[in-house]
């Protein structure tokens, strides 16, 4: 086990015995994982290993079949009462999701809104800020991801790398305590990957708690505090980037790294 970067008694995310099946296919077979505040955890593994599904369980885009996930000490999507667990209402789940930003492989920007419109939509709709304050904060965020001059462009007019950086700004606009990245660079042309990764590295440096599903071993080595290797729905091994990427102890990790490095 690595020592957490920030000394803190409570983990930001606690995943306990999480199981999930799609029909007969068991995607997650009992996952246990802690993520500490300010920590950057990279999930790596072959496709179909369940890493994206695990990430999507963290903000309840997927329901878990068994086990539980806590973010900041609260269950996600459920409420514990006695020894029973109840699913929350849409409104309550939304309140929890506000604290968790997510960035998708396919960007999923809203094509009918401008760049700035995408960024301010959630804070304005959820009453976090008035239109003008939200726009000012949005412009700041766009500057932070290097897109200050694109605020009135539409997503379609931007490159993939620019769209993904807008998506990051959009997620940050809700001032999340935790950011989830689901293969954020997999849909990008190779020359555009660097811009997105450097934005993510800056975010990590600023102390954001991040869980990143990625195939970018370079990013994992540079920015991650901990690398977690998953295979066939199980967490195979975890450790510091150098431990996992250079001296993996598990045979399956070695086989995977031989293929991707």
């Amino acid at each position: 086990m690595t020592t957490p970067r920030t000394a803190s008694d409570a983990p930001a995310v606690r995943i306990r015995g999480v199981r999930k099946s799609f029909g007969r296919l068991e995607v997650l077979r009992g996952i246990n994982l802690e993520v500490w505040p300010g920590e950057v955890v990279c999930l790596i593994g072959p496709s179909g290993s369940g890493k994206s599904t695990l990430l999507r369980c963290v903000n309840h885009l997927e329901k878990v079949d068994g086990g539980w996930i806590e973010v900041e000490g609260e269950l996600v999507g459920y409420r514990r009462k006695g020894d029973k667990v109840y699913e929350l209402k849409d409104r309550e789940i939304c309140r929890k999701r506000e604290q968790i930003g997510m960035v998708f492989q396919q960007f999923n920007l809203f094509p009918h809104m401008t760049v700035l419109g995408n960024v301010v939509e959630a804070p304005v709709r959820l009453g976090k800020a008035r239109q003008r304050e939200a726009e000012a904060a949005g412009r700041e965020l766009l500057a932070r991801v290097g897109l200050a001059d694109k605020e009135s462009a539409y997503p379609r007019q931007l490159s993939g790398g620019q769209q993904q950086r807008v998506a990051i700004a959009r997620a940050l606009a809700m001032r999340p305590r935790l950011m989830l990245f689901d293969e954020p660079t997999s849909a990008l042309d190779p020359e555009l990957v660097g811009d997105v990764l450097s934005v993510m590295a800056d975010l990590a440096k600023d102390g954001m708690t991040m869980i990143v599903v990625t195939h970018e071993m370079g990013f994992a080595r540079e920015a991650a505090d901990r690398v977690v290797f998953m295979d066939q729905g199980r967490l195979v091994e975890q450790g510091s980037p150098s431990e996992i990427l250079e001296r993996p102890s598990h045979e399956r990790t070695q086989a995977f790294l031989r293929r991707v490095l």
Partner: protein, 315 residues
């Protein structure tokens, strides 16, 4: 191979300016000739057949009875279509709901209203007082709050609006459902991840994108609705067709009055078609390619310029 070719007049030459002789289409020429002959026959009969009675057409075209019928047709179309769109959205959302009762109800509704002819539905509704002489509001098998004779409520106008909109809603529901399903699920997920609520996601994210798919067929439905209002003539509501019928049943000038109605229908559907095309163009500009009309034109011209230059620059 020579690069200077003098206009490519040399058939064996491989100069760059070779002009291909276009393929001839004799079949098209024959077909065009047939079309022209038929058109000429139609025009000549329109002019020479006195039984068209064009003078009578002109006499009644702007008569107050016809114009008030036209007005009824127009507002009936507008009101029924508006109700149908709203009801259609509700039924579409029911069909997309995970709840089997809502889903089943919506399916049953669509099945019934698409499976029986509109004309039958209208006559049925007009005669509903035979089935329910008294309409009551209350709990099924329980207490009744108030009651009213069916004939007091179901005037021809109410039957027309209810009949047309209930029927149209079934079709609109399918169109809306198709539009909603055309929006990528990633859009919903991204909005969910931001913490937006389901109703907000539908209103702000999904429907504005679905509208692009929903609008063109809705335009077609509006045009169909305009024509279907003529069915209302069977319940003696003076819309455009019935107004014409009332006149010719008195004067026996059947053909000219049907022409009056037909020409008015053509005028209105033409206007609606133009409006629909304009709206579609505006929608696609806003959403797909958000640029101004002039900007688009300028860009278009630039592309052509460049093409022209490259063509000239080639030896």
């Amino acid at each position: 191979m020579t690069l200077q070719g003098d206009g490519g007049t040399d058939p064996r030459g491989h100069g760059d300016d070779v002009r291909a002789v276009p393929l001839r289409h004799p079949g098209r020429w024959v077909a065009s000739a047939v079309v022209l002959v038929v058109a000429a026959a139609v025009v000549s009969s329109l002019v020479t057949n006195e039984r068209f009675q064009w003078d009578v057409v002109g006499e009644y075209f702007f008569s107050s009875a016809i114009l008030s019928g036209l007005w009824t047709t127009l507002w009936l179309t507008a009101v029924s279509m508006t109700i149908a769109v709203v009801l259609g959205i509700v039924i579409a959302l029911m069909r997309l709901s995970p709840n089997p009762v809502l889903q089943g109800g919506a399916n049953l509704y669509t099945w019934f209203f698409r499976g029986t002819p509109l004309l039958v539905q209208l006559i049925f509704l007009f005669n509903i007082s035979a089935l329910y002489p008294v309409l009551t509001v209350g709990v099924p098998f329980g207490p009744q709050f108030f009651e009213i004779p069916a004939n007091d409520i179901l005037t021809p106008a109410v039957v027309a609006i209810v009949g047309l909109s209930l029927n149209e809603a079934a079709y609109m529901a399918e169109i809306v459902r198709g539009g909603i399903k055309s929006v990528d699920h990633g859009q919903t997920e991204a909005a969910q991840a931001l913490g937006l609520r389901r109703s907000v996601i539908m209103r702000r994210v999904v429907l504005p994108q679905a509208i692009r798919v929903i609008l063109p067929p809705t335009g077609n439905e509006t045009i169909s609705m305009l024509k279907y209002t003529s069915l209302i003539s069977v319940i003696a509501m003076p819309e455009l067709l019935y107004s014409a019928q009332v006149i010719y049943s008195r004067t026996y000038e059947t053909i000219p009055l049907l022409l009056v109605a037909s020409i008015w229908y053509l005028i209105v559907t033409s206007v609606l078609t133009v409006g629909q095309a304009y709206l579609e163009r505006r929608m696609s500009r806003d959403q797909r390619n958000p640029e101004t009309f002039l900007g688009g034109l300028r860009r278009h011209l630039r592309v052509h310029d460049r093409r022209a230059i490259t063509r000239r620059e080639r030896p």
